[in-house]
């Protein structure tokens, strides 16, 4: 590989594709060749950088200059001024992360602010479509390390336990313990499953890992397979994620070619292979036991626990189900050690967390920061605050099964423990910001509609309860509700929490209770309309 003085990343995601990224890229390559810079400047199609809604984006390394809203007509200027003469064209919109060579940082706030990237460290610096680039930038080093240093499966599990890594799929269960239990469970065949169903509305972090760095996931699953003693892994991807499926499949094919998957991984005699399974659009299939049912080709009805998947999973065999983001931490933990991992985050929640910032913020997008980062910093420093100078009203954390947090809780730290103290959950890491004009009863109605649609129908409390709740919420929203309905809703949700079969029905209480507890006056006002009649 030749050494280039400059790399230009061209992030390809839904937003940039819509804004015409391929035309910009084509012109860029053409212009670079025309100017004879072909040996000095390399254009790399990368995964997303997490900035959305800002048109086509180019990131120039090593300066870390971001150009946003790039139009095809801007390309000449960028090549002639920036690449050829080292001057930043002042007419273009840009932001710089570092203060270098006199460049002033335009953004102390916003998505270009300094982040702590572990799971997304590489996804925007190399092309996810070329395994040679992945290998050249340190991909699969962790697998190599395990085999060259002859680490035993137990040693790998120990390392993960020491790192304190906890599941990022919502529940926060320690990953090392899960792997240990799967390893120790009796069974001839074991499985590792990557949960890439990402169904929580407002979440797209896993997608960006799947698209931006699919090889990291493969590497993690090889390591996981080795640790628990599985020879077969599945990646369950939701059907809506076309690009993820395509990139993942391509990565698997390449990994097989390089003997990183297959009958003898890196000629060690360890057999491990992966297969993608495509979901069919059911939120409940994000739940690990429903996911397993679905993998078996059945309706995605959750199983009664215990027994847990670690002993009775896929085809009743010991199975470890891990979230995409959880797995994406594994290679770096192996490479850099448990102590390094523990330097990030809090005592009980080490590492980083990916958050998606959405709703009424200036800059919607995705960031990766340390566990325990205050919510206020996420919304205001990274998300740029509430859009249009409006006032903050509430944040919905963790998607549909999440909680509404009012302004007085903005200083909460975003880790499993601190959130729990405040009766909130980290969930999937979605932070949906609502401004003062948002009606909380209306938001709750939207969430309940989601639940009523997604209940699997297996158990009565959830099947009937979700529809009862929806009806009450609808009446309130339409000004036909009564004040008593508010407590009826609470009562229903709490009953569902106690009596539902699976975590879906059990979790309705989170949004219902937090909405009513924190914004009761709004519900009462909504109900007030009908008191006269």
């Amino acid at each position: 590989m030749s050494i280039y003085r400059t790399h230009i990343l061209v992030p390809v995601d839904e937003g940039t594709v819509q804004a015409g990224v391929f035309e910009v890229k084509r012109r860029l390559e053409q212009k670079i060749t025309e100017q004879g810079l072909g040996n000095e400047v390399k254009v790399v199609e990368s995964g997303t950088v997490g900035i959305v809604g800002k048109g086509v984006i180019l990131v120039v390394y090593p300066e870390r200059m971001y150009y946003t809203n790039v139009r095809p007509g801007d390309v000449s200027l960028i090549v002639e001024e920036h690449l050829l003469k080292g001057r930043i064209p002042p007419t273009l919109k840009y932001a710089s992360l570092d203060i270098q060579g006199g460049l002033k940082s335009l953004h102390n706030t916003g998505l270009t602010r300094e982040q702590k990237r572990v799971v997304l460290d590489k996804s925007w610096k190399m092309s996810p479509e070329d395994i040679r680039e992945v290998l050249a930038t340190g991909g699969y080093k962790a697998v190599e390390k395990i085999f060259t240093e002859k680490m035993t499966p137990e040693a790998v599990i120990d390392l993960i336990k020491q790192s304190g890594l906890r599941g990022r799929g919502g529940a926060g269960f320690p990953t090392g313990l899960k792997w240990e239990a799967t390893r120790k469970a009796a069974g001839d065949q074991k499985y590792i499953i990557c949960n890439a169903d990402e169904g929580e509305p407002g979440t797209f972090k896993d997608r960006l890992i799947l698209e931006g760095d699919p090889h990291k996931l493969i590497e993690a699953m090889v390591i996981g397979g080795y640790a628990i003693g599985a020879t077969k892994g599945y990646i369950y991807v939701r059907g809506e994620y076309g690009l993820s499926i395509q990139r993942m499949q391509q990565a698997i094919d390449q990994a097989r070619e390089y003997s990183l998957l297959g009958p003898s991984v890196l000629e060690t005699g360890f057999a491990f292979d992966l297969q993608i399974k495509i979901g069919a659009g059911a939120y409940i299939c994000g739940d690990e036991t429903a996911l397993i049912e679905s993998l078996e080709g059945k309706r995605g009805n959750p199983r009664i626990k215990p027994p847990y998947p670690v002993t009775n999973g896929l085809w009743q065999m010991p199975t470890a189900v891990n979230n995409v983001e959880t797995l994406a931490n594994i290679p770096e933990i192996v490479n850099r050690g448990a102590a390094w991992f523990r330097t990030m985050g809090t005592d009980k929640c080490s590492g980083t967390k990916v958050f998606t910032i959405l709703g009424h913020v200036e800059q919607p997008g995705l960031i990766e920061v340390e566990m325990g980062t205050p919510l206020r910093e996420i919304i205001f420093a990274y998300g740029g605050g509430v859009a249009g100078g409006k006032k903050f009203k509430a944040a919905l954390l963790g998607g549909a099964s999440g909680v509404f947090l009012p302004e007085k809780l903005l200083d909460v730290h975003m880790d499993f423990e601190s959130l729990k103290e405040n009766k909130a959950v980290l969930g999937s890491g979605a932070v949906l910001v609502m401004n003062e004009a948002t009606s909380i009863p209306d938001m709750l109605f939207s969430i309940l509609k989601f639940y009523a649609h997604e209940t699997c129908g297996q158990c009565a409390p959830c099947r009937i309860g979700t529809h009862q709740l929806l009806q009450l919420a609808w009446k309130l929203r339409e000004g036909q509700g009564r004040v008593e309905d508010i407590d009826t809703m609470l009562n229903l949700a709490e009953t569902m929490q106690r009596t539902s079969l699976c975590p879906l029905g059990q979790s309705v209480v989170a949004p219902v209770k937090s909405a009513i507890d924190n914004f009761r006056d709004e519900f009462e006002r909504a109900a007030g309309h009908s008191e006269i009649s």
Binding site: E240, H360, T438
Partner: protein
Amino acid sequence: METAQVHIPDNAEYRELKKFIDENGKEPGPLIQVLHRAQKIFGYLPPEVQHFVARELRLPFGQVYGVVTFYNFFRTEPIGDHIVNICLGTACHVKGASEILKVLEQELGIRVGGTTQDRFYTLSTARCFGACGLAPVMMVDDEVYGRLNPQKTLQILRDLRNAQTVN
């Protein structure tokens, strides 16, 4: 319905599906992946196709039907040439997705789940495409359109129709 009495035509589409089943049917739990392929081939999953899948995979028809009706992705009714899928997820909801839905229903003259008389558009809803940063979002077939407002939505629909008539 008795499987034996359902007439299954011998045509290219069924042969393509049969080939897929022969190649992939040995995998454990192949049903959902087979249905994905069937829907790609036929556009939807009418009872004959479900019977065919049941027969080929040696599964009870009830199990196939149960799976088809459980998952949002599978359709049992024919659809228009293009599917307009509007996201009603929370992030899209706060950004006014229900207003876009109203505009769509008005412009197309159909309700959610319906198909226009000329079989051009089918209107459908989704919970989240994972494109929430662009909210509100809709997909027309495989194409994502974000940052919608009523005018932009109408423009997209009309452009697509016009493109079709020009061809």
